[in-house]
Amino acid sequence: MRRFFIPAALAFVLAGAASAGEPAGQRASASARVSVSIPVLHGADVPESRGGVALVARRGGAARLELPPLRVMSTNGDASLSITRRVSGGATARASRGGREEESVARAGRAGATGWTELSGAVDVPAVARASNSNSARPITIVYEVWSF
């Protein structure tokens, strides 16, 4: 019992100075015990086009779209990342009704050697093959939404 509270108390002191979400420079005044300024950052990017992306047709007009890799990073730690992928457009049946597909891609991952985690994947796009041959086809829009807290 006693051994438990020692690390917990220490963690509490450190958390007071370095918990997630405080702007850089503010933590120094949050605790007189630890006077360090730690930038808390998070970010993401995708590579720019160097050609096309694979779209593999399936039965019934559906297709599987291979996505460019998403890179994500948080100095809060990977476990704080929440990433959602939304797919819309393509004149799919669902999109034409204003709906969209939404998927939680990852809650936590493993950081690579650079501190960035790279996520790749694919999404099913219903009826995209048929839509691509019509004038009503809209671009397929994929939104990666990244939070860290």
Binding site: G52, S74, A111, W147
Partner: protein, 252 residues
């Protein structure tokens, strides 16, 4: 931890080697006391050398029981979208950092209110092999929580369970915040052996930044190494400000 964080931050400001569109934002969340600071600054940095246009707006958001946030677009009773003004609404990152100012209003009622600052990077345009145009948007979100001076946190552990399988001990806790303010809690989990009267800690797990929204419950699932056959119980200590809650569960 501090050294690792600083090293990671240094790596982040370095531009990516390949052409990419994205950004890095600091801070990753804003927690403000109403009236304490009317303005906050977000610093946006590009992740590659090219020009990157970013559109910035404010939206309502919600967090589900597993802690997953989502933009709702539908303002709820604690929505702060009208209290958060962003300037400018569009920026162009061109090799260096750009500052964005948040002006925060004061909520009228008691308790925390919140909104999300949403930064959309201009789309990467691709072409699928069937000729279908594809756009990929990177969206980075910074939640903003404003808490009045009279806001209070009241965290508790409603349930705690632990079970062991071949490789891990899985601990599931149901946490609640019956106060009026968003609580940023720290969870310390310990595997213990020995008797109830004199337990000995043999493994720990520390999780910071557990957000507990007022009136909501939050399920926290943690996994610890189960190669410790003598472990008999799991203890959870939850700390949020001056509030602490503790619970112990036997290990099946």
């Amino acid at each position: 931890m501090v050294g690792r964080t600083i090293a990671a931050a240094a790596l982040l400001v370095a531009a990516r080697g390949v052409a990419a569109r994205g950004l890095v934002v600091s801070p990753s969340a804003v927690f403000a006391r109403a009236g304490e600071t009317a303005e906050r600054t977000l610093v946006l940095r590009p992740t590659s050398a090219g020009r990157t246009r970013v559109s910035i707006g404010v939206s309502a958001f919600a967090v589900d029981e597993d802690g997953r946030p989502s933009l709702t677009g539908r303002p709820g009773p604690r929505d702060a979208s009208a209290l958060v003004a962003v300037s400018p609404g569009t920026v162009v990152l061109d090799g260096g950092p750009v500052e964005v100012t948040l002006r925060l209003g004061t909520p009228a009622g008691e308790g925390s209110v919140w909104a999300a600052v949403v930064m959309d990077v201009e789309p990467v345009e691709l072409e699928a092999s069937a000729g279908m145009p594809v756009e990929v948007v990177t969206r980075v979100v910074v939640p903003v929580v404003i808490t009045p001076a009279n806001g209070r946190e009241d965290v508790a552990i409603r349930a705690l369970e632990a079970r062991r399988d071949a490789s891990v001990v899985e601990v599931t806790a149901l946490l609640v915040n019956d106060g009026s303010a968003v609580a940023r809690a720290v969870a310390d989990v310990a595997l213990e052996e020995g008797s109830e009267e004199a337990p000995v800690e043999i493994a720990t797990r520390h999780v910071s930044g557990v957000l507990l929204f007022p009136g909501q419950s939050r399920r926290l699932v943690l996994r610890l190494d189960s190669s410790l056959p003598s472990a008999a119980a799991v203890r959870l200590l939850l700390t949020a400000g001056a509030r602490r809650a503790e619970s112990v569960a036997p290990l099946d």
